[in-house]
Amino acid sequence: MERPSPPFEKTSVIAPKRLDQTLDFSRVLEELSVWDTSLLFQSLEENSILTPILVAKINHIEGALMVIDGFKRLKWALKKGLTEVPVLKAGDMTRRQVLLLLLSRYSGHLKTCATKALFLNHLSEAGFPKNLLMDLAMRGLGLQPFGGLLEKYLRVSTLPKEVLRFCHEKDLSLKRCLNLTHQPKLLLEKIIRLKNKISISASLLLELTDNISDILKRDKITADEFFEKEEIKHIFSREMDMNQRTRLFRQMVKEMRYPVLTRLQGELHDIQKDYFKNSPLLVKWDETLENKKVTISASVSDLSELSDIVDAISSAKTKEGIKKILSYF
């Protein structure tokens, strides 16, 4: 069967201001640094526009011609103040035809959850109906065409730009991106902005936002007030290695989130130091303080070490130390 094709008209020229840029997704990709357009602009400077901009009317919608392909050329023309640009009119197109064109144009750039989310949101905002998004766009992006899944991607697209850029750079999965959507946006942005000072992985970002948002809620303070705390400011004002600062900041947040646990663990570690510092025994307990159990272990590399271990196990000091640790349970 012969496929219906848009009735192409001849190439003509048109004033750039008369073109509708609603479907421009390239700017979103540019913001995420997915698309480097510097060479394209260099070429335009030297050669001007050689390929006409593809424009169409969609389903007889009244109004300006919509640009389907050539947004960068148009952007350059507008910047240069050109009064006319060459266009190739594709006549009336169905949304399906336009969507297929957009997919073929951009799908190569849409490899991460963040870019897929932004693309689906872009189409949704441009008025593409949900069934078309599922049947065509989601399948085109390698996703199962489920309404619930579409909703999840659209939810991810609501993350702040800087966070989406992070999600894209780290190639975060949908699940991780969704987890971030549950966090306060302002806090996420604030933490992401620390990326030049601490090394943020996806799991650390989630851990920090989880813990800090709980602290904000519990202590009834704002994110600004949290970062204005002297102890936090101190970490970021001191000269130190990025990894060291990351470790310190993470530790500080944990201690603020779990003050009682931190205090009790500190006391237990003091007992460990007092009773087992020079002992061949390694003593461990449940760090959550839930399970009443102390694990004692020892390593042997030579048989002669065994007698030291036996002596240590049967010593009154060990018994006293274990008794003290167990009393915390």
């Binding site: 809620k217 519990r218 009682v260 009790l264 303080l289 009443k292």
Partner: protein
């Protein structure tokens, strides 16, 4: 409360409850809603399908469990407690009630007759509140009337509501325990949205107590907030101003707990609630709880309040807690889940002989196994 829609399955259209509900849609399927809140406003009266009687789903051998049994007669609840696990549990959220009481009783008879020596405590509150919806309380009435003839079973109705009038003038034979989940007024106002006020719960408690029902008390989930000690102390005092401790059959104590997915649900559904922001740790059962020393402090404090209020004879137990927590709070712990089951039966038999006429045999309970 008014439902936006009431659907009655054709198989139960002639039941008392269907007739009471009056004009409704007759359909073999309810609206099948997925939104947790939306489902609370739509009622589906359903026939019994499959088995409804089973042991409480919270049972976990790593914790001491009271091994109560439940009949899943109600699904979803018109109340909106911020900590409610249903917001992360139900797939069809339509408030559904199984109206086929006779069939439920047949299943209970069949299953409990296998262990005639055992006292079964059977609740209807696993996926909802036993008495939250006034027109449906008549389903509870039917159960109460049926349970009076089941020798080794106690019906446990558990609620945060205040509507008990239909229960008052019926012959319950002492075989139904009406229980309340209790929290201080400030917790009720913030975290138990739409439930009866403490005063209304106490008024209802007084009414059922005067009608001869044993009363159960559930201080669960206890919630930590500034001034919690004073609030719980006053709560205990108010309860025992309303009822005589002699009429209180048992008291359970537990603290806030939820799984990690629930934490996100609570934060999304109730952004102003602060309950998830307290210092909590993840237990072996994948549930966050307050730190064990904090929980022990809360339980011990409440226990002291109960003692001060003269409720020391009421059988008091911890819900879903560890062995070491029991030891630290009570100074002892049951040797097994079967042992706790026995201790409860023994306490009921001694204090409420009408409710449990047969003396429990310890060795039979101790031999019980739980999966």
């Amino acid at each position: 409360m008014r439902f936006r829609s009431v659907t009655i399955h054709p198989e139960v259209k002639n039941t008392k409850i269907a007739r009471r509900l009056g004009q409704s849609d007759i359909s073999s399927q309810g609206p099948r809603l997925s939104d947790y809140r939306q489902g609370k406003r739509h009622l589906f009266v359903a026939p019994k399908r499959g088995e409804l009687f089973h042991i409480c789903a919270s049972l976990d051998p790593r914790y001491i469990c009271c091994s109560t049994h439940v009949i899943s007669q109600i699904s979803n609840c018109p109340f909106e407690c911020t900590y409610c696990f249903l917001q992360n549990y139900l797939t069809d959220t339509t408030l559904t009630v199984v109206a086929d009481t006779k069939a439920i009783i047949r299943e209970i008879r069949e299953k409990t007759s296998v262990q005639p020596w055992r006292l079964f405590r059977i609740g209807t509150w696993e996926l909802g509140d036993s008495l939250a919806v006034p027109p449906l309380n008549h389903v509870a009435v039917e159960l109460v009337e049926e349970f009076k003839d089941l020798r080794n079973c106690i019906l446990k109705l558990r609620t945060k509501g205040g509507f008990v009038e239909p229960l008052l003038d019926i012959d319950h034979g002492g075989r139904t325990v009406v229980s309340w989940t209790l929290n201080p007024p400030q917790v009720i106002a913030k975290e138990e949205i739409g439930t009866a006020s403490l005063d209304n719960r106490l008024r209802a408690m007084e009414l059922v107590s005067k009608s001869g029902y044993p009363v159960g008390l559930h201080f669960d989930p206890m919630i930590l907030f500034p001034g919690w000690q004073r609030a719980y102390e006053e709560l205990v005092r108010s309860v025992f101003s309303a009822i005589d401790p002699e009429n209180c059959i048992w008291i359970s104590i537990g603290s806030l707990r939820f799984n990690p997915e629930m934490k996100k649900k609570i934060e999304n559904n109730y952004p102003s609630s602060r309950i998830t922001a307290q210092e909590m740790v993840l237990g072996n059962d994948n549930k966050f709880r307050y730190l064990r020393p904090v929980r022990e402090e809360m339980y011990s404090f409440l226990l002291k309040c109960l003692k001060d209020a003269g409720a020391e004879k009421c059988f008091t137990y911890l819900c879903m807690e560890r062995w070491n927590v029991w030891e630290n709070v009570f100074g002892w712990c049951p040797s097994s889940i079967g042992h706790l089951d026995y201790l409860m039966a023994d306490s009921v038999q001694r204090r409420f002989p009408k409710t449990a006429p047969t003396e429990p045999q310890k060795e039979m309970y101790m031999a019980l196994t739980y999966e």
